[in-house]
Symmetry: C2
Subunit: 393 residues, 2 copies
């Protein structure tokens, strides 16, 4: 048994704020929360010095496995080039596919490990991680297998692995889209066996149609994968409605949806995973308040990817959810913990209560308002399953 | 003589991009830029490993000297409370004034040093620093003196000290505003003697009127202080036009200005200092592109302050200037270097050229597009006047 002593404020979604408490940890689980000093003797103590403790943050949308960021393209976008123009000129996702196919898996693992360590050091203890930069059978399945292996590494965040072969139609199939869709369908059982828990499709203008997405997702569900969807980010093409119709666990981005889509998600119990960094990049905000008001569970994601989002800081994502999307601190924290957990179909994390995983973050602040004051609030100490890790940056 | 070897890309405003170069440093100045390996022998070498080098960033608007952040208030704002309602309930600037007046100067110095070290470690080698949390003679002048002393500490960024006794009318003068304005006028020569270079006034709705601001700024100019102005942030009350009329070096925020104010600033040669973090908080953007198109020099500032902006990362401010205000990477970098230098009336920094101060930042990236990809790009190494400092988070 160990104790995190002298927690100034313990903010855990669904519970009233607790002040001046000790959090008891037994193995990898939270054992209890008691008034400071009332916990009895333990084998190990950590003094939280009156700081703010929260559940470990959960990032519900990332693309962490790639060769290198497309920095020249980011500069061109900043100078006014559109994503579609850059993609037409050989950039975009397909540029990363070229780079990533050409890289060795040992180099790719090294890069992903470095990024995932930063996630953890910045207070994120679970990361949803998608494939999608091979768009070919062997690479996509090897990526699923690599991410599944990293998921067991206790120096990294916990991972939820998503098969995203339907990220883009690869260049070699552009004249035979249906063939590629059939391949993605055929690989679903293999992806499940390789360790994926989820299947995602980029259903949008210039990507996959609703009909194509439905074919893939039906096969994924039959193979035992839970469903996620990149939905209505670039245009209102019907992704959110499809997600609701198929009872997907998550519909992501949702920059273009209106009241009908909000209602559909609410009715289906599909989580709305919002990505404020991407929204800022696109200059288009998702209807976050309308979703909350309709009773939709909101999750947050960094959308870390080599093209448009380099962040691994969920506290920065919280800050943007507050300042840009209009969430309160409590709503943003809930979205980045229990909301994200729900989008990953797990109930063992996201709150600090007895029996939950002891995934915990002590922040460099004594009040949760710091999430709204300091963009990218720094973690002071991070625990993953009760194991203490030094923070990073 | 020392050499920064193997700079992959050297981006310095006003010069074409230079690739694969060595930067030579003699004492605290840049001595030259030569093709990699062509610099001859030097006493000291640093291998830049192909990374991006830029001038040290310059933060043109900060409030770094205060007792503690108003975190509970930040949470209330996030939950929908307005700044004016919070101020009326005893919060806002006056809450910080109460806390700061009650704090010891040794504690205040400790807090400011910690923050300023973070600025430097994150790549900012010059910081404009305002007083304004005493609103009484002794405190304001002691604050000027403390900041002036810290300006000589080589472990901190260079500081440009701004006297801002006209930050707010203090509670004890609310029924006698004219008396307080007269006091601020009277203290101007003392502030100059204590080491201030600039005088600033918060000219806005709920703060100082244009007439009050003009009285103060006229006295400040007579005392040898250069003029800055918080202008047209909350309402279009005439601050930008006043700044132009008085040939202020800088008009700051400018969230509410229109084409006439843009033209006035352009005509006067007054720098427009934009603060994207504050703009995000206010949900109102300054007309950045119109200012640039009109030929106005743009500077960037973090607006770090205990109420609404906790950042010390100018690379995050650059990121927001790009994604939120529509600047290109080159425009944003220029605003955070030569533009900010111009707002501080200094010509010895902001570019990497022979004879300029060797204030330099090596970034964790090999391409300047990283500023647009990673919010808060990390510094890999920082030099202030040629002295190498370890980076921080």
């Amino acid at each position: 048994m160990k104790a995190l002593r002298n927690v100034g404020r313990l903010l855990s979604p669904g519970s009233p704020l607790r002040q001046n408490v000790d959090v008891l940890v037994d193995g990898d689980l939270v054992a209890g929360v008691v008034p400071a000093g009332q916990g009895g003797p333990v084998e190990e103590d950590f003094d939280c010095a009156g700081c703010l403790l929260t559940p470990g943050l959960i990032d519900a949308h990332t693309h962490p496995l790639y060769a290198r960021p497309r920095l020249a393209e980011a500069a061109q976008r900043a100078a006014g080039a559109s994503y579609s123009a850059l993609a037409a000129a050989g950039g975009g996702i397909n540029a990363t596919v070229r780079d990533t196919r050409a890289a060795s898996f040992s180099d790719l693992e090294l890069g992903a490990r470095g990024r995932l360590q930063r996630w953890l050091g910045q207070g994120t203890t679970t990361v949803e991680a998608k494939t999608g930069y091979w768009l070919a059978r062997d690479g996509e399945l090897a990526a699923v297998a690599l991410l599944s292996r990293l998921a067991n590494d206790r120096s990294l965040p916990r991972l939820a692995v998503t098969y995203l072969a339907a990220h883009e139609v690869p260049p070699e199939h552009l004249t035979a889209r249906a063939d590629y869709v059939q391949k993605v369908v055929d690989w679903c059982p293999d992806a499940r066996r390789a360790g994926a828990s989820f299947c995602d499709v980029f259903c949008d203008e210039g990507a996959f149609t609703v009909a194509e997405s439905e074919r893939i997702l039906a096969a994924a569900a039959a193979a035992g994968l839970r469903l996620r969807l990149h939905a209505d980010e670039l245009g209102l093409t019907g992704g959110a409605r499809l997600a609701a119709r198929l009872s997907a666990v998550s519909a992501d981005h949702l920059l273009r949806i209106g009241p009908a889509e909000v209602d559909a998600l609410a009715g289906a119990g599909t989580v709305a995973t919002l990505c404020p960094v991407t929204a800022l990049n696109m200059g288009q905000l998702p209807p976050a308040r309308a979703l909350l008001d309709a009773g939709v569970t909101v999750a947050l994601g960094s959308d870390h990817n080599p093209g448009t989002s380099g962040t691994t800081s969920m506290s920065l994502v919280l800050y943007l959810a507050i300042t840009e999307l209009g969430l309160s601190v409590e709503e943003a924290l809930a979205a980045a913990t229990v909301g994200a957990a729900r989008s990953l179909a797990v109930t063992d994390r996201g709150r600090v209560e007895p029996g939950m995983l002891a995934d915990l973050v002590l922040w460099q602040a004594d009040h949760e308002g710091a999430f709204a004051w300091e963009p990218g609030l720094r973690a002071r100490r991070v625990w993953r399953g009760g194991a203490e890790l030094a923070p990073e940056g």
